[in-house]
């Protein structure tokens, strides 16, 4: 199986052709450096993304608290994760780095606050 990708390693944006056979990347072409091969392998075998979004917060300066996954999660879990987070409401105060959801949807990643928000009034 072939897959066409654009390398995200640098602004060159090399068009990569990746050959995947039996769950393994057997060939990468189109790249001009090592980054292309590494990216192609990761993207074809186990594409992951860091999810950054918000959850609702009560009694804070703003109604939203910015959060992220503590590490990249499988790309196909992003949507489920977002849906899940729609139902989360936290209450101020919150400290940056605080775990909001542990092991979100069994991805192995926590949802952590990326901002401290004090309690208002």
């Amino acid at each position: 199986m072939y897959r066409e990708l654009i390398c995200i390693g640098c602004p060159m944006g090399c068009p990569l052709t990746v050959t995947v056979e039996e769950g393994k990347v057997t060939a990468v072409s189109g790249n001009i450096c090592r980054k292309g091969k590494e990216y192609a392998e990761a993207e074809c075998l186990n594409p992951t993304r860091t999810l950054t979004t918000t959850v609702k917060i009560k009694n804070a300066m703003y109604p939203l608290l910015s959060v992220r996954t503590s590490k990249p999660i499988p790309k196909d879990q992003i949507e489920a994760c977002l849906q899940y987070l729609c139902g989360i409401t936290v209450e101020a105060p919150v400290t940056i780095g605080q775990v909001i959801v542990e092991d979100v949807l069994q991805t192995g990643a926590d949802i952590i606050a990326t901002k401290s928000m004090a309690r208002q009034r």
Partner: protein, 495 residues
């Protein structure tokens, strides 16, 4: 039961309403938009003309020359900034000098005071940035600049303070002329049915439709679109006076003018269109006005445009104002076809309409308690350091700057909302306070202004609009409740 229903809340309708508010009459204004001055009155050249332009003997010439001097007192009474900058018409070659002389002559016939022909030296002394091609100019000292929506809003506020009622979002759908004997008319909108003895038709480009609805005289007003560019204040000092070019058969041509707020305004072009709501600009049109303006003032930087817009002029068939009592329907008075110089003529139009009404049998008994003055509007940026200090101490909301570009405070925005006929939407605040009118065009301040509007009007933020109607600014909250509902109950308490 009204004595007079004025249809249209533009500068003409509001001038008439304010004029009628001097008398013991029951008057209302019905306006289809959410605010006054939303049609031609908000998108024009913002100029008080001297009056040499209109054909001698025309109503335009008469009302222009009568209207111009009225602005001194009117603007004082209404606390509206107005500046007699003077205007010039420049001749861009020797051949055009003859045209200047003809204009001068026309001005003399129209009894325009303060006209002078300037040679190149005098012209360059007056306008240092004028084109090298400019050889001479006709100078008119009585011309000036004004903010047309400030004027319209001020007229409306003063009329309101003197008892005139205003109905917004009220498009006239039907007019029933009743049989002889009062009341003569029923004016119907979606939500209102107003009985009245007289109708003043000041419906701008739609005045022909209103006449038709009322069964009155048949005339057709051609919407003629004019496009403008408003440039950054750092370009404003390039012109000291209103700079016209010699009119051609295509019209008065593109002008360049400082605005009362210190921006530079260029435009308009003139294109007849079909759709009476089509105030869209076009790429070709904007290019046309920039090129046109460059002929007289080559050095402005078009890249410094902060916004462009278009307005429609209601061009009447004979090219003169249609201000008269309808020949078929008694009690219907037209103030129609008010194209340029309509803004200048507005106070004189109002007086004429009042005279026509009186001649038609409306008893105009002066009110003793008429107050011609509008309380002044506080403009934080115009105050001295000491005045600003005092103001903020008295009311800390003047210490919070909302619009950075124009230095507009929260206090001013609250005042604009709480004033009589106060702002109800973002554009209403913008026209009253200039918040959002600067170079960032509301990028930073519109969320803050929306918050203040929501708080003052007790609306959810999602119901705050740009300009009334369906001009909502936000589609809804993120994390929509329905989505939340799916899982909400079970995952609370994850902390």
């Amino acid at each position: 039961m009204y004595d007079v229903v004025v249809i249209g809340g533009g500068v003409i309708g509001c001038s008439i309403a304010r004029e009628l508010s001097r008398y013991a009459l029951r008057v209302c204004v019905v306006e289809k938009e959410a605010d006054v001055g939303c049609g031609t009155s908000k998108a024009n050249s913002a100029i008080i003309h001297a009056g040499y332009d209109a054909a001698p003997g025309s109503l335009k010439a008469k009302l222009n020359v009568e209207g111009n001097p009225l602005f001194t007192e009117l603007c004082q009474d209404l606390a509206v900034p107005f500046k007699r900058t003077g205007s010039i018409v420049v001749a861009l070659d020797e051949k055009e000098v003859a045209d200047l002389e003809a204009l001068y002559e026309r001005g003399r016939k129209n009894r325009v005071p303060g006209l002078r022909l300037l040679d190149q030296t005098a012209l360059r002394a007056l306008e240092p940035h004028i084109s090298d091609q400019a050889v001479a100019a006709l100078y008119a000292e009585t011309a000036g600049i004004i903010c047309p929506f400030t004027l319209t809003i001020a007229l409306a506020e003063n009329a309101y303070a003197n008892g005139v009622e205003f109905f917004f979002n009220a498009e006239v759908k039907k007019v029933y002329a009743l049989r002889p004997g009062a009341p003569r008319f029923l004016v119907k909108t979606d939500h209102l049915c107003l009985e009245t003895r007289y109708i003043v038709n000041a419906a701008g480009v739609h005045a022909d439709n209103i006449s038709r609805l009322a069964g009155g005289d048949s005339f057709y007003l051609t919407p003629r679109r004019g496009e403008y560019c408003l440039l950054d204040k750092d370009q404003g000092s390039l012109a000291r006076t209103v700079i016209f070019q010699v009119p051609t058969k295509m019209g008065k041509g593109v002008l360049v003018a400082p605005t009362i707020e210190g921006n530079l305004l260029i435009g308009p072009n003139a294109h007849n269109i079909e759709d009476k709501e089509d105030t869209g600009t076009t790429a070709a049109g904007l290019a046309e006005i920039i090129a046109g303006a460059k002929r007289a003032l080559p050095s402005f930087d078009a890249q410094k445009t902060i916004t462009s817009f278009a307005g429609l002029r209601a061009v009447p068939p004979q090219r003169d104002f249609l201000i008269y009592a309808d020949s078929k329907v008694k009690g219907l008075i037209h103030a129609a076809g008010i194209e340029s110089p309509g803004l200048t003529a507005a106070p004189a139009v109002a007086k004429l309409v009042r005279e026509i009404l009186a001649a038609d049998g409306l008893k105009c008994k002066p009110k003793r308690n008429f107050n011609p003055q509008r309380p002044p509007v506080i403009r934080f940026s115009d105050l001295s350091f000491e005045e600003q200090s005092k103001l903020v101490r008295r009311d800390p909301s003047y210490g919070r700057i909302i619009c950075r570009c124009e230095t507009v405070t929260e206090g001013e925005i609250i005042a604009a909302i709480r004033r009589p006929l106060g702002a109800r939407d973002l554009d209403g605040v913008k026209r009253r306070t200039r918040a959002g009118m600067g170079r960032c065009q509301g990028g930073f301040c519109s969320p803050r202004v929306m918050e203040i509007l929501a708080r003052e009007l007790k609306l959810p933020l999602t119901q705050v609009t740009k300009q009334g109607g369906s001009s909502y600014l936000l589609a809804g909250p993120t994390k929509a409740p329905e989505e939340t509902g799916k899982k909400g109950a079970t995952n609370n308490g994850s902390l």
